[in-house]
């Protein structure tokens, strides 16, 4: 996984709440068995509309998504995170994220940043006034900066540590294999198994 320390880029203002993962990537795109190439499925239904904000020429090349509250609700599909990343997003900002989405994004290296809706509104206004507006998301300092606006954000230390160092979860866990084996030795025998030796 790539290390994430700080990112600066232009942003897409998505003035919608409850952007569920079916909107981020419809189920039809989930049939693939590869790990990359999901950018064409991102917001697929909305992108059919030439007026949709992501289709506007001034918002090409964006790397930060500024969305309404309750982003990433619904289906657990991790493809939603892959689609956002394949499209070029490094960061998503929202006042509230669905739990599964936030977990998925942290694992894949997409930074989801919770900030107050008031901050989102200010960012929307700034981007819409000037689409070349640069936003900086600093994971080290836990801040979002845009012109004079500096907004702190919360992220748990563990996820931050992993993102800053680009650490792979499985590798970390397998480092504690002895603990897993010790636990397994204590499991009661009435627990079910799917196949017997």
């Amino acid at each position: 996984m790539e290390k994430f320390t700080s990112h600066t880029g232009t942003a897409l203002p998505l003035r919608r709440s409850n952007v569920d993962t079916d909107q981020i990537i419809p189920a039809v795109y989930l049939k693939r068995v590869t790990r990359t190439g999901f950018e064409d499925g991102l917001f697929a239904a909305w992108r059919n509309d030439p007026e949709f904000v992501a289709n506007k020429p001034e918002y090409q090349g964006v790397s930060i998504l500024v969305a309404g509250p309750d982003f990433g609700t619904g289906s657990s599909r991790e493809h939603a995170v892959w689609a956002l990343m394949d499209y070029g997003f490094k960061v998503v900002l929202s006042s509230r994220f669905a739990d599964i989405f936030r977990g998925n994004s942290g694992k894949a290296g997409l930074l989801s940043v919770p900030v107050e809706q008031d901050v989102i509104e200010q960012l929307w206004a700034a981007i819409e006034a000037d689409p070349t507006t640069q936003i900086t998301v600093d994971l080290e300092a836990r801040t979002v900066t845009c012109g004079d606006l500096v907004a702190p954000f919360q992220i748990d230390d563990y996820t931050r540590h992993r993102l800053l160092n680009g650490l792979d979860d499985i590798g970390i866990t397998l480092g504690n294999e002895a603990d897993i084996a010790a636990y397994e030795a204590t499991r009661p025998r009435f627990k079910p198994v799917t196949q017997r030796a």
């Binding site: 709440s17 409850n18 569920d20 079916d22 909107q23 419809p26 189920a27 039809v28 989930l30 049939k31 693939r32 068995v33 590869t34 790990r35 239904a45 309404g68 509250p69 309750d70 609700t73 619904g74 289906s75 657990s76 599909r77 991790e78 493809h79 995170v81 509230r96 669905a98 739990d99 599964i100 977990g103 998925n104 694992k107 894949a108 748990d156 230390d157 563990y158 979860d169 499985i170 970390i172 866990t173 397998l174 504690n176 294999e177 603990d179 897993i180 636990y183 397994e184 499991r187 009661p188 025998r189 009435f190 627990k191 079910p192 198994v193 799917t194 196949q195 017997r196 030796a197």
Partner: protein
């Protein structure tokens, strides 16, 4: 200090706990299907890793399998690739698989409980958000993403931050004709789609205790629709009776030891929850959604809401967008809404009890002219049981389509989809834009409302058929 049910089950599964890090949680059962697993197996292969515990892993084909001609090769090439990939991965890594055509095939959340693999006090995960279904047995069960699937395959554990706990107490009893589905749709409307976020929710109280296992599964299934990490119900005699005799249930001395342990899995009298909600079951009526998220619902007897009545600006905008998408008029009675397709099925309402209830209402009636009724059993076992009871004949005589098992129109990954602007009354769990087919319009309903709607051709409850 007492502990809640969720805390007890959690504590029993902590492999490693370090301050400042999430707990490393042991996973008792890992369920797998064709859509969210290919990239996980690919990851194992790339890293040269094995499946740590194939004996705690079970795979089934459900999300995109056809419900017609299932003995033929799958026509859609991409669906076929996913299914073939799962078969190849299961064989390579030694995972038990119930493929299309197998008597144990079906929706992963229907198959686990009916095999007796879902038991109280377990931790159960699957790359599917409706894994919360299994919480009905007093298990901690939740959906995970594909990289977590890979993590569980490789280590049989997951790093997880301990969620907060919430109690939803449902006092009194549900009125006649009101189901577990109406209860959960009502609750989601009250809390919004983010109301449960960060919590493991324990449903309790008289109305919950009175539910069958099927009803409890319906409630826990839709926990995710109000944002909860998981939903749980304390195991009791109803739970034990359901599990006993199932193929993978413990037997003999193991059964006694299991039940003795399961009986300890209740919230202690002096335990406290981080949040509590209390609901009066008596005030709940048949409930349907009018919008494009599960929180946009109303009693069937109500009118489509007027967006300007919403105080919150985001709610108002969301309602405006929803009515436009759904092709509904503000103030229009919900009972006047004409429905093209009725879908009975899914991990929410595709179990035998659901089919019995639908058949009981449909019996002696015909599906309305211009409406189609699709009945899709949650598993092959459910299908066979229904046929043994003659339910299939009731559906077919009424003019319904009787299909094979799978997720089907719940998410339209197989050929069972809505056309643009086609309207459904669906016993499934999500009414998102395009969920059941591009441009399709979904109303979430209970089984009785679905069955009555199929007969009337407009949103209706069984009382409207008299």
């Amino acid at each position: 200090m007492g502990r809640t049910l969720a805390e007890k089950v959690w504590d029993e599964h902590v492999v490693r706990s370090t301050p400042g890090e999430p707990d490393l949680l042991y996973i008792d059962l890992h369920l797998i299907h064709e859509v969210t697993s290919p990239q996980a197996f690919d990851g194992l292969r790339l890293a040269g890793r094995q499946v740590r515990r194939p004996d705690l892993t079970l795979a089934t084909e459900d999300h995109n399998v056809p419900t017609l001609d299932w003995d033929q090769p799958i026509a859609d090439p991409v669906s076929k690739t996913q299914v073939d990939t799962l078969r190849k991965n299961a064989a390579e890594f030694g995972v038990r698989l119930h493929p299309l055509g197998d008597v144990e095939q079906g929706i992963v959340h229907v198959v686990g409980p009916q095999l007796g693999l879902t038991q109280p006090g377990m931790t159960i995960v699957c790359g599917d958000s409706h894994t919360s279904t299994h919480g009905a047995f007093g298990a901690i069960a939740f959906g995970i993403g594909t990289s977590e699937v890979e993590h569980v395959l490789a280590t049989q554990t997951l790093p997880q931050a301990k969620p907060k706990t919430m109690a939803v107490t449902v006092n009194g009893s549900l009125p006649e004709g009101v189901t577990a589905k109406d209860l959960i749709l009502y609750l989601i409307t009250q809390t919004g789609t983010g109301g449960g976020q960060g919590y493991i929710v324990e449903y309790r109280g008289e109305a919950i205790e009175a539910l069958s296992m099927e009803g409890r599964m319906t409630v826990c299934n839709m926990s995710i629709e109000w944002g909860a990490k998981a939903g749980m119900i304390a195991p009791d005699e109803t739970t034990f009776a359901y599990i006993e005799g199932k193929p993978e249930a413990p037997t003999g001395a193991d059964w006694d030891a299991a039940v003795a342990h399961w009986k300890t899995l209740v919230t202690d009298a002096d335990a406290t929850f981080d949040k509590e909600i209390v609901i009066d079951a008596a005030q709940i009526t048949p409930f349907v959604t009018w919008g494009t998220n599960p929180g946009q619902g109303a009693p069937l007897g109500a009118n489509v809401p007027t967006p300007s009545d919403f105080e919150d600006e985001q709610d108002r905008i969301a309602a405006e967008k929803a009515l436009e998408y759904m092709g509904l008029e503000a103030g229009q009675p919900l009972r006047s809404v004409k429905v093209d397709t009725v879908f009975v099925g899914s991990c929410t309402n595709g179990r035998i009890e659901d089919l019995r209830l639908a058949a009981e209402i449909i019996k002696g009636h015909k599906v309305a002219e211009g409406t189609r009724l699709l009945v899709v059993p949650g598993s092959v076992r459910v299908r066979l049981q229904a046929m043994e009871e003659g339910l299939d004949k009731v559906f077919v005589e009424a003019g319904a389509e009787w299909r094979g098992a799978g997720c089907s129109m719940c998410l339209g990954m197989n050929p069972d989809t809505l056309q643009p602007q086609e309207r459904s009354a669906s016993t499934s769990n999500r009414n998102f834009e395009g969920r059941q087919g591009k441009g399709g319009r979904t109303h979430l309903v209970s089984v009785p409302v679905a069955a009555a709607t199929a007969v009337k051709g407009t949103l209706a409850s069984p009382a409207d058929l008299v």
